[in-house]
C-alpha cells in the first residue's frame, strides 16, 4: 500500500503544492517584518543590552566599589580598582567592562547592592576595532547620564517582581 502511495507522490508534485500553499498563506497574512533601523521591535524592561553606570539625583556616582559584579562575572569581563576618596568614601578608580568578553548574562546588575551597574536597552552600538568596545568608567557613566530616564523607568517597572 505504502509503495503505491509513494509511486503517485513521485509524479503528482503533492509536496511542492503543499509548500506553495504555505507560501501563499504567508503572502496574504499580516506582515511582521520590521524595517530596521527606521522601525524597531518592541523590548521588555528587562532587556539586557549595553551597560551603564548610574548616579544619584545629586550627581554622586552610585558605585561603591564592592566588587561583587567583578566577582560574579562569569566571563571575567569586569576590572575594578578601588581606593579611598578624599572624603573617606570607598570609590572606584577604575571600572572597565570589556564588551567583547561580556556575555550579557545580567549577573552584574543582579549582584549590585546599589543598582549602580545596569544593562540598558541599547543594543545597536558598535566599535571599529576591538579596543572601542572596552568601556571605561567615564564611558559607562556617560551612557548612564544619557539614558537615566529610561533606566529609572525600567527599574521601577521591574521592582514589583523583586
Amino acid at each position: 500500500m505504502e509503495k503505491i502511495k509513494d509511486f503517485f507522490k513521485t509524479f503528482l508534485l503533492i509536496e511542492l503544492l503543499k509548500g506553495m500553499a504555505l507560501t501563499g498563506r504567508y503572502m496574504f497574512a499580516r506582515k511582521i517584518t520590521v524595517q530596521f533601523p527606521e522601525e524597531k521591535t518592541p523590548q521588555g524592561f528587562r532587556f539586557r543590552g549595553l551597560h551603564a553606570q548610574r548616579r544619584y539625583e545629586n550627581g554622586e556616582e552610585r558605585c561603591i566599589g564592592c566588587k561583587l559584579c567583578e566577582a560574579v562575572c562569569p566571563a571575567l569581563a569586569i576590572k575594578i580598582e578601588v581606593a579611598e576618596r578624599e572624603d573617606g568614601t570607598r570609590r572606584t578608580t577604575q571600572y572597565d567592562i570589556d564588551l567583547t568578553k561580556c556575555i550579557f548574562c545580567g549577573f552584574c546588575e543582579e549582584s549590585c547592592p546599589v543598582d549602580a551597574i545596569v544593562e540598558t536597552r541599547i543594543f545597536e552600538y558598535h566599535g571599529e576595532k576591538r579596543g572601542d568596545l572596552y568601556y571605561t568608567k567615564p564611558m559607562l557613566l556617560a551612557v548612564g547620564d544619557k539614558y537615566e530616564a529610561q533606566i529609572a523607568r525600567d527599574r521601577a517597572a521591574d521592582s514589583k517582581y523583586r
Binding site: I64, G65, C66, K67, L68, A71, V82, A83, E84, G88, T89, R90, P113, V114
Partner: protein, 772 residues
C-alpha cells in the same frame, strides 16, 4: 575526665572545661562571637546558646562548665530558636554596609548571619550610630557602628598585650569601644585586634579598601624580623603583597604576630626599592644589565685578590638574610681565599668566638617559656625586641612565675616584675657576679651585701623550672661573653635553662650556615676587625652600614675608604654615596629560603610574589658570582639544594650549644663619664621595617631623643625638651633631651639604628652631652 553528650556524640573532656571546649573536641560547631580560645570568657554575645537537658533555659556553651552526664543539643528547636533570636538582635544595630566593609567576605557576623539570620529585618526604627574614633595609624576605627560589643579587643589588651588600651564605655545602647581620652593604641601587638574583631569595626588602616578578601591569594611564609620566626600568610593580589596575617602555630607564634610582622609589608612596595642593577661610573649611577654588573663585580674582586690578596675582601650580611644566602656568601668568600665573613653586625664582643660549643640559641623550645616559673632576663628591651616572647613570659608570670630583670633601662614590660637590678652597662658584669655569689651564699646560708642581687638569687633558687635569658642588649654588650659565662654559671646553680633571645630571624641560622669567621677551612676577621683594619673591598648583603652596624661611624669611614663596595640590597639606601655597584636582590616575599629561629627550628618558605623589576633572589646572584669567579661547587639547581648542603644531614639541634669554655671574668673597672645605652627601636631594626610607612608614623618610631634621669639632667644643666649636643668619638648630633625616670644614673639612652644618630659612634661607650 568526665563524659558528656553533644548532639548524640559522646565526648570525654577534662573537668573544668566548658561545653564549647567539648564541642570543639567532638567536632560540633557552635556559632559564637565573643568566645576565643586564647582569651577569657565573657559570654557577652549570647550567640552560643545551646539546649542542655534538664536546664529550663538555653545556656551559653562558652560559659557553661561541662558536667558528668550532661546532654547538650546544639541544633534542637530550642537552641536554634535562641540562636536566631540573638542573631536578630545583633543585626538590629549592625549597619547594612557589607559591600563597602573591608571585613566583607571574611566576616564572622556575615557567615553566622547566613546560617541563623532572617531574610529580612523586622526592625524599622533608627539604628544606633557610633562616632568614628582615632586610635592610631594601624587600626582603622572609622565605622564603630559595626561593633557588636564582644569585647575581644578589650580582653586582648588586658590579657595578651598586657595593657588595656581599649575599653567599653557607657551602658546598653550607648556602650561603645574607645581608647582612653587623647590616647592611641600603641601596643606592639595591637594588629592582632584586627584579626580578633569578628566584624568590621576594627580593620587594618594600611589595607583599607585595597582589596576584597576573595581576590587575595594566600601564601605561607616566615617572618624575617625578630628571632621568633612567626609563621605568616602573605596575601597577594596582582603580584603585590597587600597584607600579612598570622598562620597559627602553637609552638612558635600561637595565633598572634607582632605589628612589625604584620605591617612591615608596606616596605616591600616602597618607592625606594632597587629594581635595576647599577654601577657608578664617574660619580654617576648608571643602570646596567645583570651580566655587565656581575662581570664588573667579578673583575673587581679578581683584581683585588691579585693585587692585595684575598684577605682584603670582606663580606658583611645582616642576620635577616636567609640560610641559603649566608651559606653561599661564606662559601664564595672562602672560595676566594678570605675568611672575612660575619653576620653579627651589632655585636661588639667576639671573645667567645671559637670557645662556644655551638650556635647561641634559646636553650629550650619556645613553647616551654610558658611553663617556666622563674625568669632572669638579662639586658633585653624585651617588649620591643621580641614582642611575642615577651607575651609568653607575660602569660607565665600571670600563672605565678616570677620575672627578674638585670638591665640598664627599666622599661615597662607590662607585667609584674619580682626583682630588678637596673644598672649602668658597665656594672652589669658586677651585678651578675653578685647574683652568682648570692646564689652560692644561699646554698651555704651566707649573706651578700647587694639587696637586689640577693632577692634575685632567692627568687631563682625558689623555682623549679627556671629560665635565664640574654636579650639583644646583653648580646651587643662589650662584655657579652662574660655576661654569658656568668649567666651560664647562675643557670648551673639553679638548674636553669640558659639561652639567648635571638636578635633576628636568622641569628641561629647564620652560625649554622658558617657565616662566621672562626669556623670552616679558611678563617678570617670578624665584623669588628673588618672595620678596625679597613679592607679594600666590601660585599654587603642586605646591610646598610650606617644603621645596621655596632659602630656606624667607623663603618661609614671604612666603607668610604674602600676601593670597592658591592651592595646586594633590596632597597636604594645611603650606601649609594660610597658603593660602586648596587645589585637588586629580592626580599623574603620574593625568594625562597630558610630561617632558623631562636629555638633552632628551621623553617623554609617559598617566594610569594615574583621579584620586582630586575631584582633577583640573592642566592641566585651569589651562585652566578661564584660561577663567574670560578669557585668550585656553585652548581645548585634550587635553594633547597643549597639549604640541604648548608644545614647538613645531622639534626640542627646537635649544633646548638650555649656553653662557653675559657672566658675569664674580669671585674669591670668603674667607668668614667656618661655611658651610652642604646636600643634599636622596634621599627628601625631592619631594612624592610624602616620603609614601612604606617609603622613609621607610630609612637614607637618617634625621632630619637636623649633620655636621662632627673639627676643626670640636672647635672648637665638641661631641662626635658631642650635641644642638646651629643658628642661621641668626635662626631656630634643635636637631639632633644627627655626626662626618663627609668634609667640609672650615669647613663643616657640614645637609640641606635636611626639616621638621626648614625653619625655617632658605638652603641656602648662614653658619650658627652652638653647644651646646644
Amino acid at each position: 575526665m568526665i563524659n558528656i553528650e553533644i548532639d548524640g556524640k559522646l565526648v570525654e573532656t577534662e573537668r573544668g572545661t566548658t561545653v564549647m571546649d567539648a564541642a570543639h573536641k567532638a567536632g560540633v560547631y557552635i556559632p559564637h562571637f565573643c568566645y576565643h580560645k586564647k582569651l577569657s570568657i565573657a559570654a557577652s554575645c549570647r550567640m552560643c546558646l545551646v539546649e542542655v537537658e534538664k536546664a529550663p533555659k538555653p545556656l551559653p556553651a562558652c560559659a557553661t562548665p561541662a558536667a558528668e552526664g550532661m546532654k547538650v543539643h546544639t541544633h534542637s528547636e530550642m537552641a536554634v530558636k535562641a540562636q536566631q533570636g540573638v542573631m536578630e538582635f545583633l543585626l538590629i544595630n549592625h549597619p547594612l554596609d557589607c559591600p563597602i566593609c573591608d571585613q566583607g567576605g571574611e566576616c564572622m557576623l556575615q557567615d553566622v548571619a547566613m546560617g541563623y539570620g532572617g531574610g529580612a529585618s523586622r526592625y524599622t526604627e533608627e539604628k544606633r550610630v557610633v562616632s568614628p574614633k582615632q586610635i592610631g595609624e594601624l587600626i582603622s576605627t572609622n565605622e564603630m557602628s559595626r561593633c557588636i560589643q564582644c569585647t575581644r579587643c578589650v580582653r586582648f589588651g588586658q590579657e595578651i598585650a598586657g595593657v588595656m588600651e581599649l575599653g567599653m564605655a557607657n551602658r546598653s545602647e550607648h556602650a561603645q569601644i574607645m581608647s582612653f581620652v587623647n590616647s592611641s593604641v600603641d601596643s606592639e601587638l595591637s594588629g592582632n585586634m584586627i584579626d580578633l574583631c569578628p566584624v568590621g569595626a576594627l580593620t587594618s588602616r594600611p589595607f583599607r579598601y585595597t582589596a576584597r578578601s576573595w581576590e587575595l591569594s594566600r601564601r605561607k611564609s616566615v617572618s624575617p624580623h625578630d628571632g621568633l620566626g612567626s609563621n605568616l600568610a602573605i596575601h597577594v593580589k596582582d603580584n603585590k603583597v597587600l597584607r600579612v596575617v598570622p598562620v597559627e602555630n602553637e609552638a612558635v607564634n600561637e595565633c598572634w604576630i607582632s605589628d612589625k610582622d604584620r605591617f612591615s609589608y608596606e616596605g616591600l612596595n616602597s618607592p625606594e626599592r632597587l629594581t635595576r642593577p647599577m654601577i657608578k661610573q664617574g660619580g654617576q649611577w648608571v643602570e646596567v644589565e645583570w651580566a655587565a654588573a656581575l662581570e664588573y663585580v667579578a673583575n673587581g674582586l679578581r683584581q683585588i685578590t691579585r693585587s692585595a690578596g684575598a684577605e682584603h675582601i670582606a663580606a658583611l650580611a645582616t642576620p635577616h638574610s636567609t640560610v641559603e644566602e649566608l651559606y653561599l656568601l661564606q662559601k664564595l668568600m672562602r672560595g676566594l681565599g678570605s675568611g672575612n665573613v660575619d653576620y653579627r653586625l651589632r655585636q661588639s664582643d667576639f671573645s667567645a668566638d671559637g670557645k662556644q660549643a655551638g650556635a647561641s640559641w634559646l636553650g629550650m623550645p619556645v613553647a616551654e617559656i610558658n611553663q617556666c616559673d622563674r625568669f632572669l632576663v638579662v639586658g633585653s628591651f624585651l617588649r620591643k625586641d621580641q614582642p611575642l616572647l615577651a607575651q609568653r613570659i607575660r602569660q607565665a608570670v600571670k600563672k605565678g612565675a616570677e620575672a627578674n630583670i638585670v638591665h640598664a633601662a627599666d622599661d615597662d614590660l607590662l607585667m609584674p616584675i619580682a626583682n630588678k637590678a637596673i644598672v649602668a652597662p658597665g656594672e652589669m658584669v658586677n651585678t651578675l657576679t653578685q647574683v652568682l655569689e648570692a646564689l652560692r651564699a644561699l646554698k651555704s646560708s651566707g649573706e651578700t651585701d647587694n639587696a637586689a642581687a640577693t632577692s634575685i638569687a632567692q627568687s631563682l633558687a625558689g623555682g623549679e623550672r627556671v629560665a635565664i635569658l640574654l636579650g639583644n642588649f646583653a648580646q651587643q654588650h662589650p662584655a657579652a661573653a662574660q655576661i654569658a659565662v656568668l649567666c651560664e654559671q647562675i643557670a648551673v646553680l639553679c638548674r636553669a635553662k640558659f639561652g639567648y633571645l635571638g636578635e633576628a630571624a636568622n641569628s641561629v641560622g647564620g652560625y649554622l650556615a658558617g657565616a662566621v669567621p672562626f669556623t670552616g677551612d679558611v678563617q678570617g676577621m670578624n665584623a669588628q676587625q673588618m672595620l678596625d683594619k679597613p679592607r679594600k673591598a666590601y660585599l654587603l648583603l642586605n646591610v646598610e652600614p650606617e644603621l645596621d652596624m655596632y659602630n656606624p661611624q667607623q663603618a661609614m669611614r671604612a666603607m668610604s675608604a674602600a676601593d670597592m663596595v658591592v651592595c646586594l640590597s633590596a632597597f636604594k639606601h645611603k650606601g649609594m654615596d660610597y658603593a660602586d655597584v648596587m645589585l637588586p636582590i629580592a626580599p623574603f616575599t620574593e625568594t625562597s629560603g630558610t630561617f632558623v629561629n631562636t629555638e633552632g627550628r628551621a623553617q623554609s618558605f617559598k617566594g610569594a610574589v615574583k621579584p620586582l623589576g630586575d631584582a633577583r633572589p640573592a642566592w641566585k646572584v651569589l651562585r652566578v658570582l661564584g660561577n663567574l669567579l670560578e669557585v668550585a661547587g656553585f652548581d645548585y639547581d634550587s635553594s633547597e639544594a643549597v639549604r640541604d648542603e648548608a644545614l647538613g644531614a645531622a639534626p640542627v639541634a646537635d649544633r646548638l650549644n650555649n656553653h662557653i669554655e675559657g672566658v675569664a671574668i674580669a671585674a669591670a673597672a668603674a667607668s668614667s663619664g656618661l655611658q651610652r645605652v642604646s636600643d634599636v627601636p622596634i621599627y628601625s631594626a631592619d631594612a624592610i621595617v624602616r620603609r614601612a610607612a604606617s609603622l613609621q608614623k607610630t609612637r614607637d618610631a618617634a625621632q630619637p631623643v636623649v633620655m636621662a634621669s632627673a639627676a643626670e639632667l640636672q647635672k648637665l644643666g638641661v631641662q626635658s625638651g631642650d635641644v642638646v649636643k651629643v658628642t661621641q668619638n668626635g662626631a656630634s648630633v643635636q637631639l632633644t633631651a627627655q626626662l626618663s625616670e627609668r634609667l640609672p644614673e650615669g647613663v643616657v639612652r640614645i637609640a641606635a639604628g636611626h639616621p638621626a644618630t648614625a653619625a655617632l659612634g658605638a652603641m656602648f661607650g662614653t658619650i658627652t652631652v652638653e647644651r646646644a
